[in-house]
Amino acid sequence: MSNVGIVIVSHSPLVAEGTADMVRQMVGEEVPLAWCGGNGHGGLGTNVEAIMGAIDKAWSEAGVAILVDLGGAETNSEMAVEMIGEPRAQKIIVCNAPIVEGAVMAATESSGGASLKEVVATAHELSPS
């Protein structure tokens, strides 16, 4: 698929899955989408391996935008991008945006065929800073 992929990374698998449900309701199957949440041991948290797997699942040659919730999700996502390495790493961006609104807005933008840069900019508009 040529539309930008969306990855949702939350500390909570329930939040991640619920956010993905909302995205699907908006854009159906037009956008590659994956989510992950939880520390891999049944608790809250995020883990690099799961994030790398989600990026693989949502991979698009147009790139992937990652939406995260709290700090560890961002740090772990950036680590995952670094471990995936070039050339794919330059097509993956961790967005600074609220996770639910950001994911829905980014996916909607992506479903219209927007570039990675445009998708990420749409998500960033939701953040005041």
Binding site: N39, L44, N47, E49, T75, E78
Partner: protein
């Protein structure tokens, strides 16, 4: 430098973290999300399980592999932060480092942690221990002196206001508690000093 027994060093570090896991969790519960002790214990036990394989590698490769293992097993924000410390150290260190090389490599590793966490000194994080430890390394201090400097630096995070991580959400209320990452960093520094002392 005395020949480093890496397997022994890993064992001492893993035992120290395990012995302090509840203390670290309690510190993290006070101003964070309360998973630090368990996360660190899980990560260092995973490293310990493969200690012999790590020890068989040249030092730079061993440190990089330990860092990757920590990234994959610690979780939380600590996984990438401690993992980055070891990975960057492995990238910069010589196979048989002298003090100058160790201090320089450690300095680069501290910079890498700061970049990963988008943080700097004085924000109540592990950096507040790492930086004084680097300075002590560069200044020729002994392992015992460096361990004491690390403990004092962790203690010095108590009156700081957290500006990074979950603790920063608490603002002023983060004052009066030691940062859990600073404490675990100090514990690791003492472990390394102890293991090196044994082999000296």
């Amino acid at each position: 430098m005395a020949a480093l027994n890496l397997a022994r060093l890993i064992a001492v570090a893993a035992e120290t973290i395990a012995a302090h896991a509840e203390e670290l969790t309690a510190l993290d519960q006070a101003i964070g999300d309360g998973d630090h002790g368990l996360n660190m214990k899980r990560g260092f036990e995973a490293v310990r399980a493969e200690a012999d394989a790590f020890a068989a590698k040249p030092l730079p490769d061993a440190l990089k592999a330990i860092g990757t293992k920590l990234v994959m097993t610690v979780g939380g924000a600590s996984g990438p932060l401690f993992g980055t410390l070891f990975m960057a150290l492995g990238k910069e260190i010589a196979a048989d480092p002298d003090r100058n090389n160790l201090a320089a490599a450690f300095g680069k590793a501290v910079d890498a942690v700061a970049a990963r966490g988008k943080s700097q000194i004085g924000q109540k994080t592990m950096l507040d221990v790492l930086q004084p430890v680097h300075d002590a390394l560069a200044g020729g201090k002994t392992a015992a002196e460096i361990a004491d400097i690390a403990d004092a630096a962790a203690e010095a995070t108590v009156p700081m206001k957290a500006l990074r991580g979950r603790a920063s959400f608490l603002g002023e209320r983060s004052i009066g508690h030691m940062d859990a990452g600073a404490r675990s960093t100090a514990l690791l520094v003492r472990s390394v000093g102890q293991a090196i002392g044994e082999s000296a």
